[in-house]
Amino acid sequence: MALVRCEELSIAYEGQTVVRDLSFQIHQGDYLCIVGENGSGKSTLVKSLLGLKSPMKGRIVLGDGLAQKEIGYLPQQTDVQKDFPASVREVVLSGRLNSRGIHPFYTSRDREQAAAMMRLLGIEGLKRSCFCDLSGGQKQRVLLARALCATKKMLLLDEPVTGLDPIVTAEFYQLIKEVNRSSGIAVVMVSHDIDSAVRDASHILHLQETALFYGKAEDYRRSPVGRMFLESTGNSEKTDIEFPERAETSEKRGMEFD
């Protein structure tokens, strides 16, 4: 049974179909990267996965005991948060709200859980700091801790490294990979960074209204769509694939492959 199964999904946004006939599955322990250009329907798909936008056609089936409100979501940061007075502890704790039900106050278990997540992500020392005083990388760690408080099964990250410098970005990817490997939490990441997507992810969904490619990451490198996209984003050097226009090197490598 899959955690999430999308069947023939079509989603419309303001009367226009932005996602069409999309089918894919997310299993426990998967690391799925959703890539695609701007306006390819990624954000709309994310909204639907979160249950905030109902599909026009088709359906999203949650399985394996994953409840709709138990997806650990890491959204893009909003304008409001830039000068918002909130301590790190308050933000992380708010990830526990979905297990509160109608009970209005946090229990000591919630506080322990939040503390454990802050320890895991190395932000325990910041718990009294104001969220708005943190650096970009620290903020993302806080929001990741909040997302982890909200889920035991699946993280959904929406372009999490936007605006981070390369070193912090690499650290953050490492962190996500560790969370995915060590706890078996499925990771779904919407990303522009195709390079790290093929490196870290187990599966790739290339979205352009419908799925141009959906499958294992290693297959994506060899697929026509993957090649074209990898090349167009200028990451061709690092990906070890042969490209027709680089006749010399590709011939050599091509022989090795054969």
């Binding site: 249950g51 959204p75 704790l93």
Partner: protein, 277 residues
């Protein structure tokens, strides 16, 4: 000095003004934290103009002012949220649209019935004498409701204020709580506007939160500080108004402004001592 203070409180109208004012400023401060952070500061202003229109209509119809104004303002608060939620008309434009329309309707009604008189002046700028014992009962009930709901839903209000999408994704019914905040704000404004004045009531919502945010760095401390600052400023302002015969609403706003200045200075000093650049 103390004698004069007790003398002031020997007038029933002053006691009523104090009770209603303290409760209204407490409620508006709590709601204000969320409204200011969600960039809805002007909602208070918009709603008070609607309230003005409603009071004018009530006077023309010889109806009880609160009985007309509260439902009208509550409905427009919900409407405002719905309209600014849709992308056709943006939030700030929607508020300006509704508030000026309501003001225009109010002025039309007044000019066709009683004409511009002292009542209109009082609606606009507030009057310390405006509170009846019915208002006292209403404000006690209202503020009890606001306080209970606020404490009960405090964590959810934090969540939807900080990050509405995440809150919704984790099962918090953001629409419901936004509506709740709007309705409570509407009732608070109607209760406070005749004392503070249509043009000045929104200060009770905006000032305490902004003041506290100069110094406090957590949501909890901002909330508590806003409540305290708001009540203190109101009491000082109304006392000044009594002793120096200044308009009540304006006095409270000036005290709030001074408090903002003090907090801003403390905030700057704080930053230099604890977070040197």
């Amino acid at each position: 000095m103390i004698d004069m203070f007790f003398e002031m409180l020997s007038y029933p109208f002053m006691v009523r003004a104090f009770v209603v004012g303290i409760l209204v400023s407490l409620c508006s401060a709590l709601l204000g934290v969320s409204l200011v952070l969600k960039r809805y500061s002007m909602i208070g202003d918009g709603l008070s103009h609607v309230g003005f229109g409603a009071l004018a209509a009530a006077a023309a119809l010889n109806a009880a002012p609160l009985a007309v104004a509260i439902p009208v303002v509550v409905v427009s608060a919900i409407l405002l949220l719905r309209v600014s939620g849709s992308s056709k008309i943006k939030g700030d434009a929607a508020i300006a649209l509704i508030s000026t329309s309501a003001l225009a309707v109010g002025i039309m009604i007044i000019s066709m019935t009683t004409g511009m008189n002292t009542d209109v002046y009082n609606y606009m700028f507030g009057s310390i004498l405006a509170m009846s014992s019915q208002d006292v009962e209403m404000s006690v009930l209202l503020s009890a409701a606001v306080l209970i709901l606020y404490i009960f839903f405090y964590h959810k209000i934090f969540a939807i204020t900080f990050d509405e999408t995440f809150a919704q994704a984790t099962g918090v019914r953001a629409g419901l709580y936004n509506t709740l905040i709007a309705v409570l704000t509407a009732v608070t404004i109607v209760l406070g506007m005749r004392m503070m004045g249509t043009l000045l009531i929104s200060s009770l919502i905006i000032f305490p939160a902004l003041t506290s945010m100069r110094v406090c760095r957590t949501f909890y401390s901002v909330t508590v500080s806003s409540a305290v600052v708001s009540v203190v400023c109101f009491c000082v302002g109304i006392t000044v108004s009594y002793f120096f015969a200044t308009p009540a609403g304006a006095s409270v706003v000036i005290v709030n402004l001074l408090m903002l200045g003090i907090y801003a200075i403390v905030g700057i000093l704080n930053n230099q001592c604890f977070y040197p650049k």
